[in-house]
Symmetry: D2
Subunit: 204 residues, 4 copies
């Protein structure tokens, strides 16, 4: 993988109209008269699009962002498709990154890890064990909080990445790099020699 | 309510194409440019159809059957619509009847109530507290098992209805009547004087 | 109920040693040789203590606080005992008040209601439908957020109580009163004429 | 590992009195004045006993059976301890075997896999991804049902083991061997050359 490659990261936004298109294909007879089911018809279509885009663009890495919150009805078919892809592609070709929030009770000043615990439980229930957890918060997560999250989420502590508020959005990549996000990704997806090319960022 | 009325029970099968139609309405501008969301767009459409049918046919009671198993992705939007209808219509105008299975371990001969416990938990998580539980099984549920289900499901014991295998499908209504299903429904929906008209059944 | 009565509110902290004492009673033969089970032995003991205290002190209202977060292993036997008490005592003699947190993403400035949605789901799964939800947060919850919580939690909007940060802890009762907490409690537990006696508070 | 070794399999029944003993140790000051918590005090004690027994007896393999049903309050501290052991020991030193039931609707004759799907979901929520699933049932599970379970449970199809009713309990080990249970265990725990010593069984 060339770290200078402009094709390493493209975010795929899966349109909600996936339902409509699959149903129209049913009308044209694609499913041989069977009625559309979320599993496998919608989930297969989601997987087909993800793989299709990665192939069409010749990507090394495709970042698929699933908006909303784990457990929302809207995102369940997508998460189910991701679960299947993990089984089909294996652990070294897929990586589940979970973004959670550690709210701070202003009065107490403590960052709460319980919401992360519960969203991880919900992810697991659906069948997704996160590989990396990025924790949003007003300030940097103390190391005890990272260890706590590591323990209950069954995630190595170096894969718990703090993502605190920073003065400028342009500082976010550098913060994540310092926290070890890139290394965590490289370990799992087995890149060698890839470095975050922050030169252009720093010029901004 | 006239118990002889032929219009008291109609089962509504909600077609899967509800997604497609809602998405097409979006295209025609119904949602003022907002993209379709399962909540509220799909759920509102489900409620609109249920109420529309009840009104169009002048029904006293409309039985809406939601197939599959609680927790299936497919049925979540429907269950969410039902949850909202309960809030909007109240307890005396809606009734949640949950059908579960009490498997029998042939070797042991005991009917297991755990699967019912877990499906009730799952229903509750989604926001539906069952009012009546009909328990399928090879034989009639003993009263201790009914009490157990009543306790963990927060359902009165007389609303736990055993639905055992019977020699002929034509005996099912009579069995349910003997088990008190009709009374449970009447208590909650406040019918007076209605009786199960089994004359025609018995003639069969 | 006399609102001036000093005996209206006592918080019961259930000691963790409840396990030990129940197990010791088993040793003394109380359970006739049966081994201790969380349900019903521990849960029965919890209920016995709650009722015992209310009776011994002649209380009109007993506030039982269950610390921690819904879903914690520690609190499950207590929540199960509360669920049973609701069934045994009815809705007009018990009230489930759920305290949740609406974290604010400082950068965005929006108060997030998703954590409340998920903790309510978890409560329901366990069998507790909250009657009142008190939402902690840095600022007062806007009315749209209250309506959102009301809808997904199946709780009347006037029972969604905002509990924002206030300059002094002595202002908390007044804030809750203004938000309608007392009225919500009175409606359900059917007090008449009771008023929050804030005279002494205001003197502080 | 010597397959003839009589010490390869011992089942550990963890007594319920673990609570009492831990609480008594607290009294003797072991936790330096901190009150007993299920996590970490009870879970640490469970792990200590499991490891202690394996060491004291010089075992190659220790089978720990957790009775009841996934999700029961009683078993949660044990499952949490197992989850931690997996993290601490790794995948090649621990194996989660989940026993589920595929009930058969006599009238329909189909074996239902939904209860397995839901118990696996519940296991995952708690943090345990099963490695092997043994499915009890009146008859042998057809291969399509195995594939279905494999897909939704994220378990290789050869690790889905059918455990049908057999005329004699002495035929159970042979059935499990034929279904590939031993091979599945060997693959994960990396035994070499071990064979099920069924000679004595067959003599019975």
């Amino acid at each position: 993988m060339s770290p200078n490659s402009s094709k390493c990261l493209i975010t795929l936004h899966l349109p909600c109209t996936i339902y409509k298109e699959v149903i129209e294909e049913e009308r044209r007879g694609r499913f041989l008269g069977k009625s559309v089911q979320i599993i496998p018809h919608i989930t297969d279509e989601i997987k087909r699009r993800i793989r299709g885009l990665a192939k069409a663009k010749g990507l090394d890495v495709l970042v698929v962002e699933c908006g909303g919150t784990v457990g929302d009805i809207e995102s369940l078919p997508f998460l189910e498709a991701f679960r299947q892809m993990r089984m089909e592609e294996g652990t070294s070709k897929t990586l589940f990154l979970h973004v959670s929030l550690a709210p701070e009770l202003a009065v107490v000043g403590e960052m709460k890890t319980k919401p992360t615990q519960h969203s991880v439980q919900e992810m697991r229930r659906i069948g997704l064990q996160p590989d990396v957890i990025v924790v949003r918060g007003t300030k940097r997560l103390p190391s005890e909080a990272k260890e706590k999250i590591s323990l209950f989420a069954s995630v190595p502590v170096e894969n718990v990445i703090s993502n605190p508020d920073v003065p400028s959005i342009y500082l976010v990549p550098q913060t994540l790099e310092e926290e070890g996000l890139m290394k965590a990704v490289q370990r799992q997806l087995r890149f060698r020699g890839a470095k975050l090319n922050t030169r252009r960022w720093n010029e901004v």
